[in-house]
Symmetry: C2
Subunit: 142 residues, 2 copies
């Protein structure tokens, strides 16, 4: 199903990394959160419990594969996983490397900014995040 | 493993609903978000990818069972799922019914409050959330 009003039906929702029959992975390119990846369902479906058990399993397996890759390459202090969709009710997961020096740590990425961004660290992490691309493409194939 | 400094190792982390060998379910009892449930791992483990595939599967199956129950009973506009753990790096999932009238919708529950709470609606939803207890206990058994 496609909803012509939905930004995740109309566009990629980020910088496309790879796509399969069920979902795609994108770089969110959120300026203060390098390595922030989104897994976006292809179909316009609001909730995880609208999916079949097999599709739920595939989505979560991919999220954990992405988490594993982020931990390996970006070595964040913490991983944040979230499926909210209040603004865009089309299943999409946020997979976010968090650092003690990032702008809102230990709050959520949706919380108030508590410190300035560190441009050098951000640049370094953007490069590391780019280097994950082949491994992230593989997540979509498996 | 137990971390004596960790509030989720030292206490239930909410109003206990039920517990099994792997996790427990609690009512978060967040005043503005009735029906907010947490699934908290028993062991002190920081990330989902620290768990075995079988434990990952059990955790996610339980989350989706809780989501199903919340949708059935509380009929929210949206379900929010999140595993953050920046403040307490011990795996715990937030399973949150969201309503267009709640204090921070369509923002996250960690975002700025954008409207006053509606005490009547909150009371009504607290009662509905209480009525889910037997079904939520069953989630811990299966």
């Amino acid at each position: 199903m496609v909803d012509v009003q939905c930004p995740l039906c109309r566009g990629d929702g980020g910088e496309l990394i790879a796509q399969n029959d069920l979902f795609r992975l994108v770089y969110a390119n959120e300026p203060n959160f390098p390595g922030f990846i989104r897994l976006i369902l292809n179909h316009h479906t609001a909730e995880m419990t609208d999916l079949s058990p097999e599709d739920q399993r595939r989505v979560m397996a991919a999220i954990f594969d992405v988490e594993r890759q982020i931990r390996l390459v970006l070595k964040p202090h913490k991983i944040n996983l979230a499926s909210l969709g209040n603004m865009v009710p089309h299943v999409h997961w946020h997979i976010i490397p968090r650092y003690q020096d990032d702008v809102s740590y230990p709050g959520s990425v949706w919380s108030e900014q508590v410190r300035p961004a560190n441009p050098n660290l951000i640049q370094e992490r953007i490069q590391l995040a780019k280097s994950m691309r082949p491994a992230l493409q593989k997540v979509c194939i498996e």
